[in-house]
Symmetry: C2
Subunit: 349 residues, 2 copies
DNA sequence: TTGTAGGCGTTATCAG
DNA sequence: CTGATAACGCCTACAA
C-alpha cells in the first residue's frame, strides 16, 4: 500500500492573467490567443500583433498544468533524484542530464534524498504527481521496492550508478570493477607486493563492484595471501584514518593502498601525513579528488566522469520517451580514467 | 514584448488511473476518494480502507496540475536558477535551499543557465509557467530586465550572490567586501608590503565587491602606491597563470597575492609551482578550494558558505510566501571564513 | 482566417 | 458521513 504524501504549505496563488483575460483585452476569441501563444498558423498578422501586445500588457503566462491536462501529453519536465546536490559527483550528473535534455526543451526537477529511502520515496511520488515525463535516479541506497512499483505503473526510469536486478530499466554506471582491476594491475606492475583495499559498505553495489575488481586483479597476479589485505566498511574519513594506522602498525604493512572512495582516500592521506609516511606508501583513490596532482603527496586516482554518466542517462531517457528504444533494458558503462601520477606509484625497493 | 518559449518534444502521456477510476473500482463516489487521498475527516474507516485498496491496485497518483488548477493554490514547487549544477558552490546553495524547504513539503525545480541570459530567461519563463510558488536566482550574469518584469508581475524572487539595484527583492550574499578586507589586513599584519590582487570581470558585482575590499584594506594601511598591484579580468586559470608570471618577472614582485576566485587561485598556484616559487609568495584565494590545507603549498582561503546562503534564501522565500514578510526588500550577508593556513602567510624578511 | 463546444482530473460548494 | 455539480485554464475537435 503506497504512502500518501504530506501536504506542503499551500499558499493561495497570486491571480495571473488567463487566455480569457487576454482575449477580452485584445477583443478576440480565446482560441485566437491560444493560436498565437502556441505559434499556430492561420492567424492574421494584425490580430496576432494585437494579441501579443495584450499578452505583454497583462503579463500573461500560459499555465503548464492546465495545458498538460487538456492536451493529454506530458509536460517538459524530467525528474532527477540524487543523494546530495552539494556533492560534485551528483552535480556533474545533473549537469550532463541538463546538457542533453535542455536543448530538447526539457527542464529537470531535482531533489536530494540524503540516502534516506523515505525521502526518496516521497520525492519519487511528488515527481510522479507532477507528471514528469521520466525520472533519472542516482540514489545509492535502498528503496528498490518503490522503484519497482513505479516501473510497473509505467513510469520511465533510468538508473545511474546503481542497479535494480531483474527490472526492465535502463542503467548507466561507471566501470567500477574493471577500473579498479586496471589500477591494481598497475600497482602490481610497479612492483608492489603488499596491497591493501579500503572499501565502504559492501552492501552498496558500487562498493561491492570495486572490491570485486580488486580481488580479480590480485587473484590473476597470484599475489601471496599475506600480500592482500581487505578492510571493508571504512567509508568515512575518521574510519579510514584509523584503519590506515592499524595497517601500517601491523606486521607486513602494505606498500600500496587502494581507497575505494574519495572520503576513504582523504582519511588515508591524513594518516600518512600524520605519520610523515607520505612517500612510503602508494595511494590510489577511486573517485575524483580535486587537484589530486597538486596534493602533497600527489595521489593517483580512478576518476569517474559524472557528466558523461548524466549525458548518457539523459539520452537513454529521451530515446525511451520517444519510443525509439528497442525492447529489453539497456546497460551502459562509462569508462573510468586511471591517472597514475608517476610519483604516487613508486614501490619501495 | 516577452519571448514565447520553444516547444519541447511533447510525448503522449501514458494513461494513469484517475479518481473516477478509483471511485468506480471501490464503488464509491469521486468525492469520497478525494477525501481519502487528502486525509480529510468524515470518512468511515470501512470506506476509507476500500478506497485505499483500490488506490494501491490501480496505482493511482493524484495529478498535481489538475489539483492546482482546481484549488487555486500554488503547488509544492520552488524554482532554483543557477549557473552550473556541477559547480560545488551552486550545488551547495541548492542543498541549503532543499534543507530548509523540503521539510515544508517543497520540491525544487532546478536549471542551469551557463551564465547565458537567453537560457536564464527561458528558464524563468518555464518556471513561471509551471506555477512555482517562488524562485531563487543564483545566476551571476545579466538578464536583469527579465527579472524585473517577473517581479512586477508578482513572482516571488530571492536573489543569491547577485544584486538587482532598485528592485523590491530579497537578497542573500557573502561578505565579499569585508571578507576580502579582513584577509588583506592579515597579510599586511604578517609583514607583507607588496600585495597583488588578481580579479575577475569587474562588471560582475561580486568581483567588484572583492576588489573594493582589497582597495579598502590597502588604503587604510597606507600602503605605498608601488606596493599595491591590481590586475582585473583574469578569471580563468590560464590568464591568472600568465598574469602571475608577469608580476613575478617585473620589478618589485609582490610577496603576497590575493586571488579573487578559485580558478584564479589555481592559475597562480600553477605558475608558482612552475617557477618552484611556492614558498616565496603567500597566496590567499577567495572561494573554497577543496583540501586547501593538503595542497603543496598550502593555500589560505576566504571560504564562502554556499549551504548557508541557500538556507537563508530558502527561509526568506518561504517567509515571503507565507506573507510573514515586513515590507521593503531584505538583504542578508552570510559571513565568509578566513582560513589563514599559517605557512601560507609568511612574509619574506 | 476565426470562433464555439466539450472535456481533461481535481477541488469547493452545497445538498442529501 | 456521503455525494452531485460547477468551476479552474487550456487544448482538441469541429463548425462558420
Amino acid at each position: 500500500v503506497p504512502e500518501v504524501a504530506e501536504d506542503p504549505e499551500r499558499v493561495p496563488v497570486t491571480r495571473r492573467a488567463t487566455m480569457a483575460d487576454v482575449a477580452a483585452h485584445a477583443g478576440v476569441s480565446l482560441k485566437t490567443v491560444s493560436r498565437v501563444v502556441n505559434r499556430e498558423p492561420h492567424v492574421s498578422p494584425q490580430l496576432a500583433e494585437r494579441v501579443r501586445i495584450s499578452i505583454a500588457a497583462l503579463g500573461f503566462r500560459r499555465d503548464a498544468g492546465a495545458r498538460q491536462l487538456a492536451s493529454r501529453t506530458t509536460g517538459p519536465l524530467l525528474g532527477y533524484v540524487q543523494v546530495d546536490a552539494a556533492n560534485p559527483f551528483f552535480g556533474g550528473v545533473a549537469r550532463g542530464l541538463e546538457d542533453v535534455t535542455s536543448p530538447q526543451g526539457y527542464l529537470v526537477l531535482t531533489g536530494s534524498t540524503d540516502a534516506d529511502p523515505v525521502r526518496e520515496a516521497r520525492l519519487l511520488e511528488t515527481l510522479v504527481e507532477a507528471r514528469v515525463a521520466g525520472i533519472v535516479v542516482a540514489a545509492a541506497e535502498g528503496g528498490d521496492e518503490v522503484l519497482r512499483q513505479e516501473l510497473t505503473h509505467g513510469t520511465a526510469i533510468v538508473l545511474v550508478d546503481r542497479q535494480l536486478p531483474g527490472a526492465d530499466c535502463d542503467t548507466v554506471t561507471s566501470t567500477n570493477r574493471s577500473g579498479t582491476t586496471e589500477a591494481v594491475r598497475a600497482l602490481l606492475t610497479a612492483g608492489h607486493r603488499r596491497v591493501a583495499f579500503l572499501g565502504g559498505d559492501p552492501a552498496v553495489w558500487t562498493a561491492a563492484e570495486r572490491r570485486a575488481g580488486f580481488e580479480a586483479a590480485v587473484a590473476e597476479a597470484g599475489l601471496a595471501e599475506g600480500g592482500r589485505r581487505v578492510v571493508d566498511g571504512v567509508g568515512a574519513v575518521a574510519l579510514a584514518d584509523a584503519a590506515t594506522h592499524e595497517l601500517l602498525d601491523g606486521a607486513d604493512p602494505p606498500t600500496a593502498i587502494l581507497a575505494a572512495q574519495d572520503r576513504i582516500g582523504l582519511g588515508v592521506l591524513e594518516a600518512l601525513r600524520a605519520r610523515d609516511a607520505q612517500h612510503e606508501v602508494a595511494l590510489v583513490v577511486f573517485d575524483e579528488i580535486p587537484h589530486a596532482a597538486l596534493l602533497d603527496p600527489p595521489v593517483a586516482t580512478i576518476a569517474q566522469d559524472p557528466v558523461a554518466l548524466g549525458r548518457s542517462a539523459g539520452e537513454l531517457l529521451v530515446a525511451r520517451l520517444r519510443g525509439e528504444r528497442r525492447p529489453g533494458p539497456r546497460t551502459v558503462e562509462i569508462p573510468t580514467r586511471f591517472h597514475a601520477r608517476a610519483s604516487a606509484m613508486i614501490a619501495p625497493s
